[in-house]
């Protein structure tokens, strides 16, 4: 906890899709399916069973362990990028192929890929919602 409160909070992740982003952290420890779980018109998480139900992830640094469920998650996330309602970056605990694919295709289609960074579990656990974070192309995540 002290680490998070400190101004020089820095963790080093593995960039799955490299890029830069800055925004407020939104942290959950439960996997999320974007199909049936994310309203791309608004950026709101709508899965009624998810702890973040009703919260908007648009423009935020979404920390979620991994995707789950439908493989249409990738297409929902692409729609969100196009609509400007996607998270600014996604931090995970494993190299999530669905999030990576959505970002790669968003780069190809709209020149708007977003960083996807895999963190060690203990680093992920140190994240807290509300903290302002910067994600760097090397996979470094720091508090700003």
């Amino acid at each position: 906890m002290n680490e998070v409160d400190s101004v020089d909070f820095v963790i080093r992740g593995r960039p799955i899709v490299a890029g830069s982003a800055e925004g407020e952290a939104l942290v959950t420890h439960e996997a999320l399916s974007f199909w049936g779980g994310y309203d791309f018109h608004t950026g709101t998480i709508i899965d009624k069973h998810h702890p973040l139900a009703g919260v908007s992830a648009a423009g935020r640094i979404l920390a979620v362990p991994c995707s789950k469920g439908s493989s249409t998650t990738t297409a929902v996330l692409l729609e969100a990028v196009r609509a400007g309602t996607a998270p600014a970056a996604i931090l995970t605990t494993e190299a999530d192929s669905f999030f990576a694919l959505a970002s790669i295709v968003a780069g190809v289609m709209y020149g708007k890929s977003f960083p996807v960074v895999a963190l060690e579990s203990r680093d992920f656990d140190a994240l807290e919602s509300g903290t302002r974070l910067r994600v760097e192309p090397t996979g470094i995540v720091r508090r700003v």
Binding site: S70, A75, A83, V105
Partner: protein
């Protein structure tokens, strides 16, 4: 990662702009998967057909405009609209027009317009050992497990890239060593009468999906011979409540002639018993409605097969649905054509059933808001309808569904399931 000369030619654009784009995405994803190389496939099934909005449409039309052609025989999953029947339902005209444009884009790429989530019940069924790139969770589970074809869980947007390139990352379920069972689930004292029930494999699939996590489950103790549609229901259920892409049923599925074969001679990582109490609880979970009100019976997720039409016809013959209860069957154009040839559609239409083709209630905004309570024999509809459509659902057998539609209220024969 090692790329062949053919892969490089595609990546460098020597084979055209569309293969180049597909290969760029594929190579990036192969790195994410940690693949050392790509490998050939000889068939694909595309889930990217599902229309969500402008981005899915633009992606499809971009590929089509670049002249994309699929390199292998390719079937298409459900679309976002029944082109002939959408006006009977609540589908907005703008949605119908854009979903139809997306269909056209994939047809222009040379894919076969199967428009079904059960491609394994069309002429596009793959064969044992065949390397394929399939999207759509139930179809992936069925192809891998029931047929013994080999596919990873391909997400939307990647499946079509694989089809255009004819290549996939050489990882996961494409490779023999990754197909061994990991979790042993033993049926403990489950009576044969229950195993023979029409709902058994749907309920078992729902339960196994929840127990399996990321492991490959092996089910031991099935002593009936399931029909193909029972295994279809199992595949749909196991991939809805969980993320299972491959399962083995000892003595039933082709890579599980024996328990030892299912585990490729290795020991299970975990073993668990499935009791009748577990199955009863799983069946109860598939019902979210209480009481008897009923607005619609919905059948056909995955799409209703010829065999299911044949099974339904005598159940509805000479009867008529209650005026207040809609009765909808979602199916594919190929299945309906076969059912017509088999001469079984007459009594079904006379009963007052409607048939929607090429899509389903989860992929097309069909249902008017006054439809609030559903009944189904599909574990996939039962799982997804409450959250995606904000409806309440009762799960029951096909016979229960017909009887309820006639009586205008939910009636279920629970004698096999709820007796102590």
């Amino acid at each position: 990662m090692h790329l062949t000369d053919g892969d490089r030619a595609m990546l460098d654009g020597a084979k055209g702009a569309a293969p180049q784009l597909a290969m760029q995405i594929l190579v990036r994803m192969a790195e994410v998967y940690g693949a050392d190389e790509l490998m050939d496939i000889t068939q694909a099934h595309i889930d990217s057909t599902i229309y969500l909005g402008d981005a899915t449409l633009e992606f499809a039309e971009r590929l089509a405009a670049l002249g994309a052609k699929v390199a292998v025989p390719t079937s298409l999953n459900v679309s976002g609209v029944d082109e002939c029947g959408w006006k009977d339902w609540a589908v907005p005209a703008d949605w119908a027009a854009k979903a139809a444009r997306q269909m056209l884009a994939y047809e222009r790429m040379g894919a076969v317009p199967t428009w079904t989530c059960a491609p394994y019940q069309t002429k596009m069924r793959p064969s044992f050992g065949q390397q394929i790139a399939w999207g759509e969770s139930n179809a992936i589970a069925f192809a891998n497990s029931v047929i013994g074809a080999r596919t990873e869980r391909y997400p939307d947007l990647l499946d079509i890239c694989c089809a255009i390139a004819g290549r996939v990352p050489a990882v996961g379920l494409h490779l023999t060593e990754n197909r061994a069972g990991q979790l042993l689930l033993r049926l403990a004292g489950i009576p044969r009468a229950l195993q023979q029930d029409d709902q058994f494999f749907a309920v078992l699939g729902h339960l196994v999906g929840k127990l399996a996590g990321d492991l490959i489950p092996v089910i031991e103790g099935v002593d009936v011979v399931p029909t193909e549609d029972h295994l279809k229901a199992f595949s749909a259920a196991v991939a809805s409540s969980g993320r299972v892409a491959l399962f083995h049923i000892v003595g039933v599925t082709p890579e599980a002639g024996t328990l030892d074969a299912a585990f490729q001679g290795r020991a299970p990582r975990q073993t668990q018993e499935i009791t009748i109490a577990d199955l009863r609880a799983a069946r109860r979970e598939l019902t979210t409605a209480d009481g008897q009100p009923l607005d619609m019976v919905i059948l056909g997720s995955p799409h209703f097969s010829v065999a299911e039409f044949v099974q339904l016809a005598p159940l509805v013959a000479g009867k008529r649905r209650h005026a207040k209860v809609k009765f909808l069957i979602t199916s594919g154009r190929f299945m309906k054509e076969m059912a017509e040839k088999a001469g079984v559609l007459g009594p079904i239409v006379d009963f007052g059933a409607q048939i929607t083709l090429d899509t389903c209630i989860l992929a097309s905004p069909m249902l008017p808001p006054e439809i609030k309570t559903l009944m189904t024999n599909s574990p996939k509809y039962a799982y997804y309808a409450p959250s995606l459509l904000n409806t309440r659902v009762t799960f029951g057998s096909l016979a229960d569904c017909v009887r309820s539609a006639v009586e205008g209220r939910v009636v279920r024969d629970d004698s096999l399931w709820e007796t102590p």
